[in-house]
């Protein structure tokens, strides 16, 4: 039965080549040119999503009854640095949010000033890159208004958020571009679910960038910096995760 042998050989061949292909994927991903092509997928998705979006395209907002019963905290749960502990001990009374970089009017905004600004309240879904999601309520001024108050220069292309926490010993930071920075749902939240943000969720200030994944929603924001290029920041990829673990800089996918 030569045809049976052929079939067996084919099945074995297919299984064997599947195994080879799988390990081949890992090898080919080490090739710099292939890696560049693979990583370009992020730019293509960004370009296409931007074609389909306007600066007014809003993430869905939910009602109170649709909120997650428990909003899971992830990443750093407490920065625990001496400076942070000192701020926490006196309830961020001396804390000032720095807004600098490519701005005509650098700012140092106290928590009282921040809370006095016009706020936006939004009940949105937080999508973690891992696949889970949770719906919570966020309250804070629009980042766009803060950038306008600082008179951000037209040469600014990205807004970088420097955070209080060290993640695996490195300063956590992230960045978004101006399209998302001026989005109405991009806010510097100081309250979550009707209470001041807890330490686990990013006290005193957490960025909400609702059209992107959770790792862009920086907790413990200490400083907002407008830059023309990400090259000089961290390792130049636009964020802690982007620098250290090859995450996409555009986290809208």
């Amino acid at each position: 039965m030569s045809s049976l042998i052929t079939r067996r050989a084919l099945v074995a061949g297919a299984a064997g080549s599947a195994g080879l292909l799988l390990s081949g994927c890992d090898q080919i991903a080490e090739n710099p040119t292939f890696r560049k092509i693979l990583f370009s997928g992020n730019d293509i998705h960004r370009a296409m999503q931007r074609l389909l979006s306007t600066d007014r395209s809003l993430a869905k907002e939910f009602s109170e009854s649709e909120m997650s019963p428990v909003f899971r905290a992830n990443g750093t749960l407490n920065p625990g640095t001496p400076e942070y502990n000192a701020h926490l001990a006196n309830k961020f009374a001396d804390f000032g949010l720095r807004v600098d970089g490519l701005v005509n009017r650098p700012l140092n905004i106290s928590m009282a000033e921040l809370k006095a600004m016009p706020t936006r309240t939004q009940i949105t879904r937080h999508d973690c890159v891992e696949g889970w999601s949770a719906i919570g309520k966020w309250h804070g001024p629009m980042l766009g208004n803060i950038l306008k108050a600082a008179d951000v220069k037209s040469s600014a292309r990205h807004i970088v958020f420097h955070c209080a926490d060290l993640f695996h010993g490195k300063n956590y930071y992230t960045s978004i571009d101006m399209f998302d920075a001026f989005h109405p749902q991009t806010i510097l939240a100081w309250a979550m679910n009707n209470a001041p943000i807890t330490v686990a969720h990013g006290a005193p200030i957490r960025l909400r960038a609702e059209r992107q994944l959770g790792y862009k929603h920086a907790k413990y924001v200490m400083r907002v910096e407008a830059v023309a290029s990400l090259a000089g920041i961290g390792m130049g990829q636009g964020g802690y995760w982007e620098d250290n673990v090859d995450y996409d800089n555009y986290a809208g996918i």
Binding site: D26, A59, K60, S133, Q212, D248
Partner: protein, 254 residues
């Protein structure tokens, strides 16, 4: 003549003329766009499944509804997929995502290319159109019996797909693959803002993620049956026809 684009006998050019039997009939069965899409998908679907399982390892729990995280009730807890099943072969969510999102573009635009070209070259109208007669219980039952007897071709029209084949191909092309693509898009927070209706179509992000997984299981089911039938129908001839387009009508089985 509908059904077959060309009938031709290249065997008679390649080989000396057989003295007794006339050369078996060759049929131009698969158009070039079908073949290109098929082989692109062999690679793409393989990568999408491997990288998808890699992504799933980050949170192997599935929920229904708008949200879902560790403390919410999951309808399915999945095992951790071993490294030999995932791309890359060790846990690396970022790289699994890079593979998945790049090849999602190939998968999505590949389907678009195939659909447009198959309307233009009439592959859909000629080979996949299911007539109401074919869906009658009598016809379906006849076709099931023919399959169980390992007779896959109608000797009067051997190049045509039988109705079970048409249902399998059409549901994959028009339902399962589009569902995978759309549920994938529905999980993107950027797309949720751009196309808010899309996620509602699936009942929320956690539902879209669950349907995405079920769609993958269905696609794997299709691949398993497809490969088994290729083996039974004669793998050499079937694979050759998927490369050259030409398929040799097998000798009739009794």
């Amino acid at each position: 003549m509908d059904g077959i684009a060309k009938i031709d006998s290249p065997a008679s050019h390649a080989e000396p003329i057989r003295p007794v039997n006339a050369p078996r009939q060759w049929i131009y069965k698969h158009q070039v766009t079908t073949r290109i899409w098929h082989w692109i998908n062999v690679v793409t679907v393989f990568i999408m499944i491997g990288s998808g399982l890699g992504i799933l390892n980050a949170h192997p729990h599935l929920y229904w509804g708008q949200y879902g995280a560790n403390l919410d009730p999951a309808w399915l807890h999945l095992p951790r997929w071993p490294g030999w099943m995932t791309i890359p072969g060790h846990y690396n969510l970022a790289l699994s995502r890079r593979w998945h999102m790049f090849f999602a573009l190939v998968f999505g635009f590949g389907l678009l290319f195939f659909m447009i070209s198959s309307l233009i070259n009439r592959h859909f109208q000629r080979q996949l159109r299911i007539s109401s007669g074919e869906l009658s219980p009598g016809h379906l039952w006849f076709d099931i019996k023919e399959h169980l007897a390992f007779r896959f071709h109608d000797s009067k029209n051997p190049g045509a797909f039988n109705v079970l084949q048409k249902i399998a191909y059409a549901s994959t092309i028009f339902f399962f693959i589009p569902t995978l693509i759309l549920t994938g898009l529905a999980m993107s927070p950027g797309m949720n803002a751009a196309w808010p209706w899309l996620i509602e179509l699936f009942g929320g992000r956690s539902s879209a993620r669950s349907i995405h997984f079920i769609g993958m299981v269905a696609l794997i089911g299709f691949i398993v049956v497809h490969l088994a039938l290729v083996m039974l129908a004669g793998p050499i001839g079937e694979i050759r026809s998927m490369i050259t387009g030409y398929w040799q009508v097998p000798e009739e089985r009794h």
